[in-house]
Amino acid sequence: MTALILHRIHFGFTITFHYLFPQLTMGLALLIVVLKTIALRKRDERYNQAARFWMRIFAINFLLGVVTGIPMEFQFGTNWSQFARVTGGVIGQPLAMEGVFSFFLESTFLGLFLFGEKRLSPLAHWASAFLVFVGSWISGFFIIVTNAWMQHPVAYRVLPNGAYEVTSFWGLLTNPWALIQYAHNMSGAVITGSFVMSAVGAFYVLENRFSEAGRIFLRVGVIAGLISCTTQIFPTGDIHGRYMAKHQPATVAGMEGLFHTQRGAGIVLMGQPDEEKQTIDNPLIVNNVLSFLIYGTTKAEVQGLDQVPRDQWPEPLPLLYYSYHIMAGLGTYFVLLMAISAFMLWRNQLFTTRWVLWPLMLSFPLPYIANTAGWMTAEIGRQPWVVYGLIRTSDGYSKYVSAANGLFTLLGFMGMYSVLSILFIVLVYQIIAKGPQLGASAPVSEPLTVA
């Protein structure tokens, strides 16, 4: 394996594993605020208990997000030093701001939220939950700003020594790509949160244990799920796709498996792209739809990969194609499932309809897959550039860190993250098996540590 491939896998593996946790952190943070708000407004202690239960899962999840996140900030320097060196003046800014504005906020108010229920008034306790939510969402924003600049560089100039510098701070923060991507990404995080909450709710209702809490989880989870699954496709996904078609046509052609430029291009629902023969095997195509989705008319011409020089094709192309199709396919399924569940909820039949509760319980891993696939679409789609159109990925990695050193630490991370996965599953399962304690008798305990 070449050093380039290894450094790509190194970053790809660690960021993929890392993002399994923040997506739930950001999604749950919002849902916990919802629970706390209902508790405060209705003066209903059951919602406080529900929030407390989810906070326990949140704390473990947050811890895993923190420990897997620290390596990310340092990997720009360790594995991508040349990239870091020339772009530090631009993307070092949002990364530093994430630490300064978000991590301090999050760690402080998470501490207050977890330790302070007895010491704070209900309103102050609500406020600390709200600030944890704000902190985690600000954190997401700065990361998206960083990524968006790599996808769609704006507001920069090149200094005499070859380094990049921001020319407009607001231009960087309001990069249109960042705003669109942020909306799409956060809606995806809420999907994960609502599927996890609904799944635990469905589990309790099906088990007939803690079913009162289970119904609360289902109610909040399904409503939040329906809203977020819908916004994920329209408007955020739709706008994102069009904007991408305008600025990264090669990426869109690769995602759709469109090898040849076409008028009235069809959309490939299924099929396996053959890079050599430049065809789709076993295709299932709906005519004209792609043109319509991008340009709003069935006759429009969509640029194919044939208009892109071969050395600028995204690679690995098939992985880009599959990532996108898995994301889009799952996204469609999410809307269907949540629409049916919400309908049943409205008809007051959800809690007794086992054929809906079962898929709700089993579907919680799917948003993780969809969010991962979405990010793979964005990141593989950007290839062969690390900063789109400006710096090639092959010019960005640390030349003095050999492939063997990269492999050594990659294996180390894989081993360590396997252990983390097992610990996480055991601990969260413990919490779920123990269940929430609804009712006034449950003690408000003060933990020793954050998680």
Binding site: T78, A84, R85, G92, A163, Q430, T449, A451
Partner: protein
């Protein structure tokens, strides 16, 4: 601009060492002075609500370094690749050791997480000390500003050193002892009865070790970096720094004997701060000196980001730091005083 950002980054590093330093110190010491499970819980309780926030200084400092001095960030992090990756793994293990202990009801698991917390804290202290010593000694920088250091060599100084040689090992041991002392002083402030008296006697032993190491470190540093006194000679006022270091050391001893725990801990904060300031003064305006050719030193001027970046940065950095200081006041006030287990029927 370069001068300002040099010291702003230094402030963040100092904040990290002083704050995370005491929870690392608690990690190093707790197997020796906390004997029962309850005492171990107390030791962890004393840092439980704050350690995570303390560690944020590392991330915020790292991010600030990245954007203010991209070349330094890129060169140092890729050059110390293996050591840095080990530090990252240690940070992960340490967090698990602190946080997951109480989730396990089985004694064997608790012992395991205690061990994890101890080993990772001790090794982190050693690595941090060795890292600082590496920066003071210098690294074999290439013409392009990069280098790659093996973990160990023949243990001697020279133009082609390794991450661990006799000088950096002294740095590592010094950091281990200094942070252990910092932690024992913190525990003396936060605990009572048997745990407190054991922390206090640990402080005394550690103090003697630190005193010897501090004296040893001065000639060692001059051997590793013969021009280390140039800035001091140019501005003799700076000799106040070593004087304050020794005054702080004396203060730690005096106040520990007088049972003025808070003052002793404050002196330890001053000691750590001034040790770092002393190193920064010796290096300025270099960020990472070269061990083979002074012309290749990474200096502030070479590594500094563009002017617009830094001007805007100054605004949000100041704002962000004011907010962060506020948060720290809130959380430390809320958890001030001695820790006890009585108020917290812990369950999970």
């Amino acid at each position: 601009m370069g001068f300002i950002w040099f010291w702003l980054v230094a402030v963040m590093i100092v904040a990290y060492v002083v704050l995370d330093g005491f929870d690392i110190g608690v990690g190093i010491l707790h197997p020796f002075i906390a004997r029962t499970d309850e005492e171990k819980q107390l030791a962890i309780r004393s840092i439980g609500p704050v350690w995570d926030g303390n560690e944020v200084w590392l991330l915020a400092g790292g991010g600030t370094l990245y954007f203010a001095f991209p070349l330094l960030y890129a060169s140092a992090f890729s050059g110390f690749y293996l050591a840095l990756m080990i530090v990252l793994w240690l940070l992960i293990m340490r967090a698990l050791g602190i946080e997951l202990r109480m989730h396990m009801q089985v004694a064997v698991w608790r012992t395991f997480f205690d061990g994890l917390f101890f080993i990772s804290s001790a090794l982190l202290a050693i690595f941090y000390g060795a890292a600082l010593a590496n920066v003071i000694r210098g690294v074999p920088l290439g013409d392009d500003g990069y280098f790659f250091l093996p973990l160990w060599t023949n243990w001697s100084l020279g133009p082609e050193p390794g991450i661990l040689d006799w000088y950096t090992v002294i740095g590592g041991v010094l950091a281990l002892v200094a942070l252990a002392l910092h932690g024992s002083l913190y525990l003396t402030v936060k605990t009572e009865a048997a745990l407190q008296s054991r922390s206090r006697s640990a402080s005394i032993y550690l103090w003697f070790a630190l005193f010897v190491l501090t004296i040893l470190s001065l000639p060692a540093t001059l051997a590793a970096r013969p021009d280390g006194l140039d800035n001091y000679r140019a501005f003799p006022l700076l000799f106040a720094v070593p004087i304050i270091i020794f005054a702080a050391l004396a203060g730690i001893f005096y106040f520990t004997r007088k049972r003025a725990e808070r003052k002793a801990f404050t002196c330890s904060c001053v000691y750590l701060t001034m040790m770092l300031v002393g190193a920064a003064v010796a290096l300025y305006p270099r960020l990472l000196p070269s061990s083979n050719d002074p012309g290749r030193d990474i200096t502030i001027a070479k590594a500094l980001s563009g002017p617009h970046t830094l001007h805007v940065g100054l605004i949000w950095w100041t704002l962000g730091m004011c907010l962060a200081a506020m948060y720290f006041v809130v959380i430390y006030r809320m958890f001030r005083g001695k820790v006890s287990l009585a108020s917290s029927g812990y369950e999970h």
